[in-house]
């Protein structure tokens, strides 16, 4: 069965299409013959611009793989992925790297920062690599938004886990990417620090119009999103708009039960 969760109609936001990223019939398979494992099974998905999208699913459902493919970190076996108007499937490493550098931001679960660089250097790293000057005012605003103004000269090992993730958020925002991908960005944080980081992500969507895609298995984290996609066995099986933590949890339980009985 092929599932399609696409936003209908070409909305227009600031001269761009309303869809920030688009996947069509994406298949990702590992191995071949008998050992072939399908991680993504003909997935169609549209990521709406200016929205906070969460991808959920049990371990092995393919949610991280989907994010990696959307972000141009991983290659697909077949199908197409577009970031805005650019088809990234089939791009060579060089172009892909440039695309990640200039148009995408990342927040990982752990090990987000280079230990040799201090906070501000980490934040501006993607622009430094690109040889671009950061926009001072914007940078200031981002730094203030994540509340790091006092700790910019600190090295990662002098920051708490929550602070490190906030630096990562700031880095992702600083270059004004078209889209930010988060891979369980709060997975390693306690609930308070996690709430802080998620709050920033929410605000950046609301106030700065940022597009964010986040993989998580935490219903509370997912409740910050505008829309939740559910993955199971490499397919998108459901979605939910404006979720609350309880709704998400119920839906998850539901899947779990169904998974067990089937």
């Amino acid at each position: 069965m092929t599932t399609a969760v696409t936003t209908p109609g070409p909305g227009v936001t600031g001269g761009r299409t309303a869809v920030a990223a688009r996947a069509r019939q994406v298949v990702k398979a590992y191995g071949s013959g008998e050992t072939r494992v399908v991680a993504l099974d003909h997935v169609d998905v549209d990521i709406a611009r200016g929205q906070f999208t969460a991808i959920m699913g049990p371990s092995g459902s393919g949610k991280s793989t989907l994010m990696h493919c959307l972000a141009g970190l991983d290659t697909v076996t077949s199908g197409q992925i577009h970031i805005d108007d650019t088809e990234i499937t089939g791009l060579k490493d060089k172009k892909l790297t440039q695309l990640r550098r200039d148009r995408i931001g990342f927040i990982f679960q752990a090990f987000n920062l280079l230990p040799t660089l201090n906070a501000i250097e980490n934040i501006t790293l993607p622009m430094d690599i690109a040889g671009r000057k950061p926009d001072r005012q914007w940078l200031q605003r981002v730094v203030e938004t994540v509340g790091l103004a006092e700790r910019l000269k600190h090295r990662p090992n002098q920051l708490s886990g929550g602070q490190q993730q906030r630096v990562a958020v700031a880095r992702a925002l600083a270059a004004r990417p078209e889209i930010i991908f988060g891979d369980e960005p709060t997975g390693n944080l306690d609930s308070r620090a996690g709430a802080e980081v998620l709050g920033f992500l929410r605000r950046s969507v609301d106030e700065l119009g940022q597009t964010i895609v986040m993989v998580t298995h935490d219903p509370v984290a997912a409740s910050y999103a505008d829309r939740v996609l559910y993955l199971a066995d490499g397919r998108i099986v459901d979605e939910m708009y404006h979720p609350t933590a309880d709704q998400v949890l119920d839906r998850m339980k539901d899947f779990d039960a169904r998974g067990r009985t089937s």
Binding site: L73, D93, R101, F106, F111, P115, T116, D128
Partner: protein, 856 residues
């Protein structure tokens, strides 16, 4: 048992990471074993040669010189032919034949090309005897008969394309002598390089000894059942004790071997020294490898400790891995060493030596030494990291250690390093200001060792500052990538320090030797400019025979030609003290050829009849003043009373302490056939005829290719090129240590890349291109290499300058820093850094981004 099993598994799981360490062990062990095999093989070859060519018993004149010494008169000492008959009367003598053999000859072909070996082996001329027939086989023609026939050895014939019927001219102190080749004979044993020509007995006697009826030695063969020692005794009692020198085959062979053996020992210990340096450098590499492996395995070790492994077990497991590494590296090294020895023999063969792999000698001690050294060094080097592994707390298993904690360079380390460096600098200063070369060299040695150790210890501390400086100058050009390279080089100063230190050692030696070498050239040039007045200098490997001397004297456009001879004599001072020494007899024009300052008297007076000059030191030691009389007993001549005409200043390198007299004085007390040939000759061109005179001299010497004439410019050039060659050889040997150091850089980078997998993945994810990533690693490598180079060159120049100050006592007056070499080495180091990073950078570029960041 489990410890061993874990170690084995660890070792083989990480064999890639061990590979470079194993190569370092391999190279060092190979160099040691290769040296041993090569020198043992050379000794075997010479042993066989000498055993084969020495007769059962040799009778020679009592005053006969050793094989490497020049006989005074320029021809061998001889004994009357009648002795042969006398020897034959002794019991147990199967045969006795008179032999003529001289190494004071030069043999040239019809085109005046020298037939002698270029590798330092002698040219030997003699008569063809039954004893020679034992070890040689006539392969073409026949043995020489009559005064116009000569037989040559097959190797020489091959090398120079000689055929039967070609003419060979033999140049000896008795004149030139041309003969046709009528025979070619080849050695049945390996002859490493001597060129050998044979004549019939009367011709050899006349040409080599100057008269017939004499031999240079007698070869005696024993009857069956008579031992060599017995035969020697019998001959001795027949000839009367003490009249002649008698040697058994063993003794002759031993005497011949002594010189070769000493030379081989020098080569052996020099090469082992370089192997030692390579080992030292290898230690850094091994320490780094194990430190990094332990750091990467911190969690694993913590887990083992948590589930109950004792410190000792963890410690031991690392040492077991080191032992495995040592064993594998050494075994391969021993094999490679034998290969290296064979390669070296091939190389020597290409350079004109004749060596045979049939003689390849691998003593049981060679692999034993190789294995022992390799294993002990490896285990010792791994000891510190092993201890650190033992100290890992069980808590480490619980901590999330993405990248191992950065090793900080401690204050204590800085302090110890600085104290040692300070002590070393003090020692060097003492050496530089020493009055006596002997004391100074001890201080110099101590200073070198202390500053080296000091630098190694303080290196990690310096790494911080030096890397920042280098980065500011070089890396900043590369923007953020350069900055990250700098940070990476700085993040573990201990590692950067150790990696750089390995390179430092080799480069310090290069810098030191290049400073000493160029100071030598500069000092010699300076002294030549100041003191040498002669336009042309004529010298060669052999002393200048009378016929060449005449030809030089008759060369046109010369104002004067100076002869220069050195004769053995025993000097007795007025205070009764005697010393066996030498006097220099020269033409009076020598006083203008070499401007010597005197501390008393005029140098011209030394050249008056029955006069001489002495050096200041000798004069002071014996309280001699100008006008005093010395008793001079000329070796092989009369004893004379000679007046001191002048006392020369000893503060020179050329002719230091020489005692001059005129050749006329020498000739008065020494019979004509005892007058030594010229050691060297000088000439001055007639006014404005320098070029013509030089060309004419060169032309004159065409027929005597064993001598070379050089004007001052060419002489300096030759000096420079000789020292340059020597330095190049030493650099070549140091290359081993430098290669090991470069492997160390590769090793550090490769392991760092593995260690930083996640970081690299992160950087790639957020948009660093492969090119930038590779550049970052290359720049890190360049910084490490430049750090090592800067320290090494600085240290080495310090050593070199100290050595020069010390050697100033021996006449090395001028300090010259060879900036082109130093700067060249520095720049080359940057390229070496680039080269070292090639593979690690490539591998980092190929690293999968997802592997690096995937968390589930």
């Amino acid at each position: 048992m489990t410890v061993l099993k874990t170690s084995m598994r660890n070792f083989f799981a990480h064999k890639g990471r061990m590979a470079l360490s194993a190569i370092a062990v391999l190279l060092s062990v190979a160099f040691v074993c290769g040296t041993l095999v090569f020198t043992d093989t050379m000794n075997t070859t010479f042993d066989k040669l000498f055993a084969a060519t020495s007769p059962d018993v040799t009778v020679s004149p009592k005053s006969a010189e050793g094989p490497e010494e020049d006989p005074q008169g320029g021809k061998p000492e001889s004994l009357p032919a009648s002795v042969v008959e006398q020897v034959k009367r002794a019991d147990g003598v199967k045969s006795a034949e008179g032999a003529v053999s001289s190494m004071n000859v030069t043999v040239v072909d019809s085109e005046n090309e020298n037939m002698g070996s270029t590798s330092g082996a002698p040219t030997i001329a003699g008569n063809w005897t039954q004893n020679d027939a034992r070890t040689m086989e006539i392969t073409e023609g026949h043995s020489p008969r009559g005064p116009t026939e000569v037989m040559v050895d097959a190797d020489t014939a091959d090398k120079h394309g000689l055929k039967l019927g070609d003419e060979l001219r033999t140049i000896s102190v008795n004149g030139d002598f041309t003969a046709k080749i009528t025979g070619i004979a080849s050695f049945k044993v390996t002859n490493p390089g001597a060129a050998v020509v044979y004549f019939d007995t009367p011709t050899a006697q006349k040409q080599l000894l100057g008269e017939t009826g004499k031999f240079s030695q007698i070869a005696v063969a024993a009857d069956a059942g008579v031992s060599h020692a017995q035969l020697k005794q019998n001959v001795a009692s027949e000839l009367g004790a003490g009249t002649y020198k008698l040697q058994t085959q063993q003794e002759t062979a031993d005497q011949n071997r002594k010189d070769v053996g000493e030379f081989m020992d020098i080569i052996k210990y020099a090469m082992l020294g370089f192997a030692g340096i390579a080992f030292l450098v290898g230690i850094f590499l091994i320490i780094n490898t194990f430190s990094m492996l332990v750091a990467q395995r911190t969690r694993e070790i913590g887990l083992m400790r948590a589930i109950g492994s004792s410190r000792k077990q963890v410690n031991r497991s690392v040492l077991v891995e080191a032992t495995l590494l040592g064993v594998i590296g050494s075994i391969l090294g021993v094999g490679a060493g034998v290969g290296l020895a064979i390669g070296l023999m091939e190389l020597m063969s290409n350079m004109g030596m004749n060596l045979s792999t049939d003689d390849l000698t691998v003593k049981w001690t060679t692999p034993a030494i190789g294995l022992l050294l390799g294993i002990v060094v490896t285990v010792l080097a791994a000891y510190l990291p092993a201890r650190r592994a033992g100290k890992v707390s069980p808590m480490a298993a619980l901590r999330d250690a993405g990248t191992p904690a950065d090793g900080k360079a401690g204050l204590l380390r800085a302090l110890i390093g600085l104290v040692l460096t300070g002590a070393g600098v003090f020692a060097l200063y003492t050496a530089a200001t020493a009055d006596k070369a002997g004391d100074g060299s001890m201080w110099l040695g101590g200073g070198v060792v202390l500053t080296l150790i000091g630098f190694v210890i303080v290196g990690p501390v310096l790494a911080g500052a030096v890397v920042r400086v280098i980065s500011a100058l070089v890396l900043r050009l590369f923007g953020p990538v350069g900055r990250m390279a700098e940070r990476n080089a700085l993040r573990n100063p201990r590692r950067t320090g150790a990696t750089g230190a390995a390179l430092m050692i080799g480069l310090a030696l290069v810098a030191c030797l290049s400073v000493v070498g160029s100071s030598m050239v500069a000092s010699a040039t300076d002294e030549l400019d100041k003191s040498v007045g002669a336009d042309f200098i004529i010298q060669g490997q052999q002393r200048i025979v009378p016929q060449a001397e005449k030809a030089i004297q008759n060369s046109p456009d010369l104002e004067h030609v100076t002869r220069y001879k050195v004769a053995d004599a025993t000097l007795t001072a007025p205070n009764g003290k005697s010393e066996k020494s030498q006097v220099t007899a020269a033409d009076p024009t020598y006083a203008t050829d070499l401007r010597r300052e005197t501390t008393a008297g005029e140098l011209e007076d030394a050249y008056a009849a029955d006069s001489m000059s002495i050096g200041t030191e000798y004069a002071k030691d014996n309280g001699i003043k100008v006008g005093d009389t010395l008793t001079v007993a000329f070796k092989g001549g009369e004893t004379a009373k000679i007046k001191v005409g002048a006392i020369t200043n000893d503060d020179v390198t050329i002719d230091q302490g020489a005692r001059y007299m005129s050749i006329a004085t020498l000739e008065k007390y020494l019979p004509a056939d005892r007058i030594p040939p010229n050691m060297i000759m000088f000439a001055k061109a007639a006014d404005g005829k320098a070029e013509a005179a030089y060309a004419a001299l060169k032309d004159t010497l065409k027929q005597y290719p064993q001598y070379e004439v050089r004007d001052q410019t060419d002489f300096k050039e030759e000096l420079r090129s000789q020292i340059g060659q020597l330095l190049n050889m030493v650099y070549g040997l140091l290359a081993l240590a430098i290669i090991v150091a470069v492997l160390g850089v590769v090793n550090t980078l490769a392991l760092s890349v593995v260690e930083r997998t996640r970081e690299i993945g992160l950087m790639r994810a957020i948009g660093m291109s492969r090119r930038q990533l590779r550049r970052m690693i290359r720049l890190e490598s360049v910084v490490i290499a430049l750090f090592g180079a800067l320290l090494g060159l600085g240290l080495g120049m310090g050593w070199g300058a100290t050595a020069q100050r010390l050697l100033a006592l021996e006449g090395l007056e001028v300090l010259e820093i060879p900036w082109p070499t130093i700067i060249g080495v520095f720049i080359a180091s940057a390229f070496v850094g680039l080269l070292a990073a090639l593979i690690p950078a490539f591998r980092a570029g190929r690293m999968n981004v997802l592997n690096a960041i995937a968390t589930d």
